[in-house]
């Protein structure tokens, strides 16, 4: 057992940290982290930030050097996530392009696709979205209804996608469609690299319960794609999805470190905010609840370390790493639920009126997305039960 970092790893961290200090948006490190509200400025701000990352060589560290990456080790990836969470860096607008689309294209894209897309993804010139979920197929990707039909040499696509992140900013979409009806649910799926800038694609924002609009509905009405837009083979999209998932070596590093940071901010609140004239932390029930959360959040982080150790030793994640998302998302919800409870009645106040600078109310509302998006906790439990514990398959599977 060894939790130390190598000299090389520490050097990497130092380099990144130094770069961030110079290159983060002005005032960011001092706490001025407001993002522009209107779409246009928001988009420009984030694209500029990705351009900055790109120019520093920090946009896609895990990519091979030949594509402009750093061939980062897994530990370097983890350090990267730690540091980005530490400074609460602006979101990576082209997250999907960098972490999902490009690695998939490197593995199974055509030369033309690599040529056309990979560099633009890296620079942020081209922002990507992901077209997975549909109104009738939330956690069940095999129930796709969006169809692509070949007509006069072009693919005509019709259907509706929801929960398409960044779609309002995106130029292209990594789109799942059905190109043939098959008895077997995993067959007949085809992945397209869809151009969003066309008449057949309409994007409408989804307003979340926390007031944010990070996701969209995308309506596809005779949208057009070509054979050249297909990833892998026609009808073999499921294999593409599997390949894509296997790229995720570092798992949910960002969420793990974010949860740790959020916990620290709740502790900070408990140490500084008074309710009924006394510091929250001096209330034995607050102390007790926070100590319980400390144990479990630390446990989740340590689970993550144990799974990373497995990946380091075996080259790929072990089955237990599928527990990470479930644990971290549920703990995020619990943490903010507790943070709400302890603030007393003044905890109903939001924004500038909230009792603590790191406003818990918005984070509380946002936390409800964690156990739904990316596979609900219920689906995660099924998967763990069947894949890890070998329990019999659920009905409907």
């Amino acid at each position: 057992m060894d939790f130390t970092f190598t000299k090389k790893e520490e050097k990497f961290r130092g380099e990144l940290r130094g770069w961030l200090e110079v290159n983060l948006p002005k005032g960011w490190l001092q706490g001025d982290r407001k993002l522009p509200e209107d779409n246009e400025h928001y988009s420009k701000f984030l694209r500029d930030w990705q351009r900055t990352l790109y120019e520093g060589g920090w946009a896609a560290i895990s990519w091979p050097k030949e594509y402009g990456g750093r061939d980062a080790t897994l530990m370097e990836e983890i350090i990267y996530h730690q540091e980005m969470v530490r400074v609460q860096s602006p979101p990576l607008v082209n997250y999907i392009g960098i972490h999902m689309v490009a690695p998939t294209l490197m593995q199974m894209g055509t030369d033309a696709q690599k040529e056309e897309f990979i560099e633009k993804i890296l620079t942020g010139e081209q922002v990507w979205s992901q077209g997975y979920s549909e109104p009738g197929a939330g956690s069940d990707l095999t129930a796709l209804q969006t169809t692509a039909v070949k007509k006069d040499g072009k693919w005509v696509i019709n259907g509706q996608k929801v929960w398409t992140s960044f779609a309002h900013l995106a130029d292209r979409c990594f789109l799942l469609t059905k190109t043939s009806q098959s008895e077997k649910k995993h067959e007949g799926i085809t992945v397209f690299l869809l151009d969003m800038d066309q008449e057949g694609v309409e994007t409408r924002p989804i307003v979340q319960m926390d007031g944010h609009q990070e996701f969209n509905e995308v309506y596809l009405t005779d949208a057009i794609a070509t054979d050249e837009d297909i990833v892998g083979e026609e009808g073999k999209g499921w294999a593409v999805l599997i390949a894509l998932m296997l790229h995720e070596r570092s798992g949910i590093a960002a969420q793990v470190f974010t949860l740790e940071q959020q916990f620290d901010s709740v502790i900070e609140m408990a140490k500084t905010v008074r309710v009924n004239g006394c510091l929250l932390i001096e209330d034995p029930f607050v102390e007790d609840g926070l100590a319980d959360l400390y144990a479990r959040i630390n446990g989740a982080k340590l689970n993550y370390y144990r799974n990373i150790t497995h990946t380091l030793k075996n080259g790929r994640p072990g089955p237990e790493s599928s527990l990470d998302k479930l644990l971290v998302s549920e703990l995020t919800k619990e943490l903010f639920d507790f943070a709400m409870t302890i603030q007393g009645h003044a905890g109903v106040l939001m924004n500038d009126d909230s009792v603590f600078s790191a406003e818990m109310q918005g984070q509380y509302l946002a936390s409800f997305g964690a156990t739904i998006g990316g596979g609900t906790s219920e689906v995660q439990r099924n998967t763990i039960g069947e894949r890890i514990l070998g329990l019999p398959k659920d009905l409907g599977r």
């Binding site: 979920s133 009738g136 197929a137 939330g138 956690s139 069940d140 129930a143 929801v162 929960w163 989804i206 307003v207 979340q208 319960m209 007031g211 008074r274 309710v275 009924n276 004239g277 006394c278 001096e282 209330d283 034995p284 029930f285 919800k333 639920d337 709400m340 409870t341 603030q343 007393g344 009645h345 003044a346 905890g347 109903v348 106040l349 939001m350 924004n351 500038d352 009126d353 909230s354 009792v355 109310q361 509380y364 509302l365 409800f368 997305g369 156990t371 739904i372 998006g373 609900t376 906790s377 219920e378 439990r381 659920d394 009905l395 409907g396 599977r397």
Partner: protein, 382 residues
């Protein structure tokens, strides 16, 4: 043994529910969110026409002189649609305080207009330190020739639907005292940003505002505690209404939403989750009925009945709303669905005039589990 609402009360429930349906259910709550506050007065006058605002007011001052149990169907049905307004504060806190501690003149001056729905009364109690029962108020009531003048700042004051009067707490020579202050005498007022956007809270500043003493000076805390028994019983009914609606909408959704080729209600994770909501709902309803009965009949276990109901229901309402969001999945996370409104309302009530911990300690104390009375935590949490 007859542990049910009376036939009349159930008929009244039907009428209120019909009226709420006429108002298009949560449409009024959503109007407030989008800034249209006129609906609050509309709803109040509609309820007044049905006699709701006269229920707890005694007959001598133009009320119906009915009891806490008659408010149960009202608050269950208004709570079911998250009706915005000061009904709880006016009918279940201000009226009991005025009825119990007001002089005949004070009652005559205020209660008839409450009964007729023309007036609503709010409570300006909290100060900036957030204490429910502070050792002393920073808001000071100084004696004047004609009465008192109040100076200080109150926060977390519900002001939706323009109350014309505030019951407020201020410090006098005798200690913490209750006062009636006219809304028109408030020096300045600042709106606060609230998680539950169907509420309107303000920080109000009094500057030598004329205040009319309510009850004995120095007894504000005891009087409020007595008033809160009425308030919490009614609040429990309101939360039960919300929970009932959550169970209904969640069960309905689970019957029609298909995933993995099955209506999701077929999956035990969903089914048992909704059953657990239902179990909590039934317990909550029983506790809230009993609390109202205990208040109405002044039962010996009145305080335990109210506090234990409140402690259970505050938590259960939050849990029901949170679980409902999860069961609804993605759509539950949007503002399009009402579920999130219930969650925000549940949070709004969680610590309103006391936390779950406060209610539990009050339960223990009222049941006299302690040999040494009035024992408190190492740190006062209320």
């Amino acid at each position: 043994m007859d542990f049910a609402l009376s036939e009349e009360q159930e008929l009244f429930r039907t009428a209120i529910r019909k009226y709420m349906n006429d108002l298009d259910r949560t449409a009024f709550a959503r109007s407030v969110i989008s800034g249209n506050l006129d609906v609050v007065a509309n709803a109040t006058s509609g309820l007044a026409e049905m006699g709701v605002t006269a229920i707890p007011v005694s007959e001598e001052v133009d009320g119906l002189g009915l009891g806490a149990l008659d408010l149960v169907p009202v608050f269950e049905e208004t709570g079911r649609v998250l009706l915005p307004g000061l009904q709880l504060e006016t009918l279940a806190l201000a009226v009991p305080l005025l009825e119990s501690f007001g002089t005949p003149a004070q009652k005559a001056a205020r209660l008839p207009s409450v009964a007729s729905g023309e007036s609503s009364v709010s409570i300006a109690w909290y100060e900036r330190d957030g204490s429910l029962f502070p050792n002393s108020f920073s808001c000071i009531a100084g004696k004047t020739e004609s009465g008192y003048a109040l100076t200080g700042t109150k926060t977390l004051v519900p002001v939706i639907g323009d109350p014309d009067t505030f019951i407020t707490g201020a410090q006098t020579a005798e200690g913490k005292s209750l006062f009636l202050v006219k809304a028109s005498d408030v020096a300045s007022s600042r709106m606060l940003s609230v998680l539950d956007e169907t509420q309107q809270l303000a920080e109000i500043t009094l500057n030598q505002a004329p205040g009319e003493l309510l009850g004995e000076p120095g007894h504000a805390a005891e009087m409020l505690k007595e008033g809160l028994l009425h308030f919490n019983a009614a609040l429990c009914s309101s939360m039960v209404g919300g929970m009932d609606e959550l169970v209904k909408m969640t069960a309905e959704y689970a019957k029609i939403r298909v995933q993995f080729n099955q209506p999701i209600g077929r999956f035990q994770a969903i089914k048992h989750g909704i059953v657990n909501m239902k179990l909590d709902l039934e317990t909550a309803r029983s506790l809230s009925y009993y609390a109202a009965w205990a208040v109405e009949t002044n039962a010996t276990d009145k305080a335990a009945a109210v506090h234990s109901a409140r402690s259970f229901i505050s938590k259960a309402f939050i849990k029901a709303a949170a679980d409902s969001i999860q069961i609804h999945g993605g759509i539950g996370f949007t503002e399009e669905l009402d579920v999130q409104l219930y969650l925000k309302r549940a949070r709004y009530y969680e610590n309103y005039f006391g936390s779950v911990r406060d209610s539990r300690r009050a339960t223990a104390q009222s049941l006299e589990w302690h040999s040494t009375p009035a024992k408190r935590d190492a740190v006062p949490v209320s």
